[in-house]
């Protein structure tokens, strides 16, 4: 046997040569000196935790799980995964009610949509916001996204145009936001897909991707949802011979990478079939000759904000290329920076100030860009940017749907 041919360690933590580039790229460390930083919290801290779990530093909860450290690492150390695994393995404190509520987007969403008008009104009331701030620690600056009166799933089943007429099909992972808060994005996706001759179908069963549960240490629940989702995805891919696409970069990232890395859910047979909608659309245009035709009167000055998980996926190029292909678009590039919200992270009172400090530069760049709106593939980035800059934010799929000349597109793709 050959010894020491290579070093193998969980999440490659032994590969770290302490170059500290990750630390330089960490958005949290720049604003919060209590956070040890990715190198310290990750590979360095891991050595101490292996010695004795008592060395677990509770400050690891400040990690956004943005994975920008992993993108920066030249040695392929899974720094973000090391930190998240440490939180899941060593933080034994019970999960507080607030975190449970924020994490259970599915449960809360299905309750709230039933009484959407009341819930929306109540959640906007200053006294309610103040009360939530004081009692459970949801920062009063935050506004919960409004709940829709009808879920996207319900719209698909009862109101959507018949999707079975299309010869080609694609499965859509809508995610909680589209389902409970913003069915319009799902409808936009259906509009674009139908225009290029694809029918959209839902997964047999869909649960929250689990990112919020992972972030709030509800591992068992997250794993249960993950297994259900992967089984549904597997069925869609194997039986339907169609990929599963989504319009939320975080949902897609979670199902591709966090499932196997953090939850131990094997997705290796279907991982490459889980895609963000823009990447898939771009691929269809490159390889299948699919064409999009846009309205000549469409005019907009826009920029694209790269969500951290989109950065990690390396797929920003697809969204940006599609947006730039719209003739009426005046595209203003800005630097890729974390907006600071990181899902439920920014809703927590103790994180609010850090959250805003992290996004400060980005907000200024957006304001300076003087655009009509910002495009981004992540819903929580949307909330953060809209709240912090006043500039509206749309998903690239919605932008495409808005700019699309549906009839001309159908003709260009030989559907008429």
């Amino acid at each position: 046997m050959e010894y020491q041919v290579k070093n193998i360690s969980p999440n490659n933590f032994e590969q770290c040569i302490k170059c500290t580039i990750c630390t330089a790229y960490c958005p949290v460390l720049a604003v919060n000196p209590d956070y040890p930083g990715p190198k310290q919290a990750g590979p360095d801290g891991e050595r101490y935790r292996l010695k004795n779990p008592e060395f677990y530093d509770k400050a690891l909860k400040y990690c956004l799980n943005c994975k920008r450290c992993e993108v920066a690492c030249p040695s392929n150390v899974k720094i973000g995964d090391i930190i998240q695994m440490a939180r899941l393995d060593y933080d034994k404190k019970p999960v507080p009610l607030r975190d449970w509520t924020l994490a259970n987007t599915d449960f809360v969403g299905s309750m709230a949509t039933k009484m959407a008008p009341i819930v929306n009104t109540v959640l906007k009331m200053p006294i309610v916001k103040k009360a939530m701030d004081v009692t459970i620690g949801v920062d009063s600056h935050r506004q919960f996204p409004a709940y829709a009166g009808r879920t996207f799933e319900s719209w698909m089943k009862k109101k959507a145009p018949d999707q079975s007429v299309y010869a080609r099909q694609v499965s859509y992972f809508h995610g909680c936001y589209v389902n409970y808060n913003y069915p319009k994005l799902g409808q936009d996706f259906v509009k674009v897909m139908n225009a290029i001759g694809y029918g959209v179908r839902l997964l047999e069963k869909e649960k929250c991707c689990g990112v919020a549960k992972i972030a709030n240490r509800l591992v068992k629940e997250a794993k249960r949802d993950a297994e259900l989702n992967i089984n549904s995805i597997r069925k869609a891919v194997m039986e339907g011979h169609a990929p599963v696409v989504g319009t939320s970069s975080t949902c897609i990232f979670t199902m591709r990478d966090e499932y196997p890395h953090l939850l131990g859910v094997d997705n290796s047979d279907v991982r490459e079939d889980i895609l963000i909608a823009t990447a898939w659309l771009y691929r269809l245009m490159e390889t299948e000759g699919v064409k999009l035709v846009f309205r000549p009167d469409y005019k907009a000055r826009i920029t694209y904000h790269t969500p951290c998980h989109m950065q990690k996926l390396g797929w920003t190029i697809y969204s940006v290329s599609l947006l730039k292909s719209i003739p009426g678009v005046d595209f203003v590039p800005i630097e890729s920076q974390c907006c600071g919200i990181a899902g439920t992270y920014g809703f927590k009172k103790e994180n609010y100030a850090y959250s805003q400090a992290i996004g400060k530069d980005l907000f200024e760049h957006i304001k300076e860009a003087n655009v009509d709106f910002v495009a981004t593939d992540c819903e929580t980035c949307k909330w953060q940017i809209e709240m912090s800059t006043g500039v509206p934010v749309y998903n690239p799929i919605s932008v495409i749907a808005d700019a699309l000349d549906v009839e001309a597109t159908r003709r260009a793709n030989g559907l008429v």
Binding site: Y3, P36, R47, D57
Partner: protein, 549 residues
């Protein structure tokens, strides 16, 4: 301490600040003797700082050397009490591999019983549950009360205790001569290795605790001690592979002990006779690395792919009994020689042989002899009195200025290193909170504490007191930071660059025998930073040699 404060005359001068010398100085001081401890380099610069750090249960010697085994288990139990902050109670396993004879286990357990060592045969499956790193193919396992002991902390704690009881300490002072008058050693002549100055200090008794170098000291007054230097090499792995000591249940041989020591794991040792002129030249050979790996992988398969930080070797001061000059009956037992009765030279005794585990007992024997010779009636209390850092409930750790979340990792790490003395570390400013050594979690505050209180002259001293530079990057990030603090605190900024270059080279020396994979990348990165970017040049000064020790 500065030699200006050195007294003209002491009851006892102890030569050598390894565990035995520091322990002897402590015992002497505690019994009320005025004591001076002298050391040519730093604490633990010899064999004390170059071993396994294994808190032997004695089981390893039970079959071959029952006397040593009995001493070990007694001292083991004592150290757990008096040196809590230096000891980690990991427990130990003696495992039988398919290629080993399971019959040996019976003999082993019986010998342990006769030596008073609690050895319990357990199911191999249970052993694997206790210690997942152990080879799953083992056919037998015995649980014993082994542990880990940090020799650097242990020696420093003994030195601090000696000082607290009034002893004086001079490091970097080499004994160049032992003045003799009327058949009696009257003291020592010292050379200050930093300044080149010489001074003579008188003593009623000189105790030679120089380890393998003790025979050179004795030679200065024409006394021969029949020593046999035995080199032992070890490998340090980058992180904890095991949390329980794993021994191989067979007649002691190469690479059959894997010890978890602080943040790392150690496999060792080899054993080879070396000529006397090689005792200062402890390079680890490729053959030794190969043996350590080949045998180590048998007890813990993950060693085959775990990053190795460095290799090092030490010299055991084995002594042949006086009636056997051929050296066939070499003992690992304690040898305490009164040169008055043995060689007709008064005022001089040698304490040698033994092992790290029995340092306290060696100190007790030497001090007993010293008291007898000096007509002093002190009683040994070192077996009951906790070492500084191991006392209970002494002061509280000072909260960090900036860290709002309970204790930070480096504070916990400092507590592990200094025990209750960590309460003396000051975090006066945000700068004190900052980390110097990131791999081993050493803060600026801890560095300043060590410089102020723990006899620190250079970066190597600082490493031994705090673990600075002992982690994954082997000083790559911390050495320059520490050099700056050290230069400022000691007011020796001119020497800082030279010290830095020596330190980085000393780290490389240990990495070289295992320089492949990420360890090689790390070393290249370090040299690229220091030499390429910062333009650091190798130290040409004659201080260099001193700095490396």
């Amino acid at each position: 301490m500065d030699k200006k404060h050195c007294k003209k005359h002491y009851d006892v001068i102890v030569i050598g600040a390894g565990a035995t010398g520091a322990g002897t100085a402590r015992d002497c001081a505690m019994r009320g003797l005025s004591t001076l401890l002298v050391e040519r380099f730093d604490f633990t610069a010899g064999a004390t700082g170059r071993n396994h750090g294994l808190l032997h249960s004695g089981a390893r010697y039970a079959v071959t050397d029952r006397e040593s085994a009995t001493e070990c288990i007694k001292e083991n139990m004592i150290l757990r009490k008096i040196a809590r902050h230096c000891v980690e109670e990991t427990g130990g396993l003696f495992v039988t591999l398919p290629e080993d004879d399971l019959e040996y286990q019976k003999k082993f357990v019986e010998s342990c019983r006769l030596s008073g060592i609690d050895a319990e045969v357990i199911d191999p499956a249970e052993a694997l549950r206790l210690e997942p790193a152990v080879n799953p193919d083992i056919i037998g396992a015995v649980k014993v009360p082994d542990g880990a002991v940090d020799p650097f902390r242990l020696t420093t704690a003994n030195a601090i205790s000696a000082r607290q009881h009034g002893a004086d300490i001079l490091t970097y002072h080499e004994v160049v001569d032992l003045p003799v008058s009327n058949g009696r050693v009257t003291g020592v002549e010292l050379l200050d290795r930093h300044t080149g100055e010489r001074l003579v200090v008188d003593a009623s008794l000189v105790i030679n605790a120089g380890g393998i170098w003790g025979h050179l000291i004795a030679k200065k007054v024409g006394v021969t001690i029949n020593m046999f230097p035995a080199k032992g090499a070890l490998l340090i792995f980058g992180h904890r592979v095991n949390n329980t000591v794993i021994n191989r249940c067979r007649k002691p041989a190469d690479a059959d002990i894997l010890v978890p020591g602080d943040t790392i794991s150690l496999i060792g040792t080899t054993s080879s006779r070396v000529p006397f002129d090689q005792v200062d030249n402890m390079d680890v050979t490729q053959e030794e690395v190969d043996v350590l790996l080949r045998e180590g992988v048998k007890i813990a398969p993950s060693l085959a792919y775990t990053r190795i930080l460095r290799a090092y070797a030490g010299v055991r001061p084995l002594v042949a009994s006086d009636d056997d000059p051929s050296g066939r009956t070499i003992s690992r037992g304690i040898v305490c020689l009164d040169h008055a009765t043995r060689d007709g030279l008064e005022g001089f005794i040698t304490i040698t042989g033994g092992k790290l585990m029995t340092y306290r007992l060696m100190a007790e024997w030497a001090t007993d002899m010293a008291c007898r010779k000096l007509g002093h009636t002190g009683v040994c209390r070192t077996a009951e009195t906790p070492l500084p850092g191991s006392e209970e409930n002494v002061g509280e750790d000072k909260p960090r200025k900036s860290h709002i979340i309970e204790m930070s990792t480096d504070q916990l790490a400092a507590q592990g290193r200094h025990g209750s003395l960590s309460s003396e570390i000051e975090y006066k400013s945000d700068t004190d909170d900052a980390l110097v050594c990131e791999c081993e979690e050493v803060s600026v505050g801890e560095i300043k504490y060590a410089i102020d209180k723990l006899h620190v002259n250079n970066l190597v001293n600082l490493r031994r007191r705090t673990r600075l530079g002992m982690g994954t990057c082997q000083g790559g990030l911390c050495a320059c930071r520490a050099a700056a603090i050290l230069g400022n605190e000691l007011g020796k900024r001119d020497e800082a660059l030279c010290d830095l270059a020596s330190f980085v080279n000393e780290r490389w020396k240990g990495m070289m025998p295992v320089a492949w994979g990420q360890t090689l990348v790390e070393a290249q990165f370090t040299s690229w930073m220091y030499e390429g970017v910062c333009g650091l040049e190798p130290c040409k000064d004659n201080i260099k040699e001193t700095h490396q020790q």
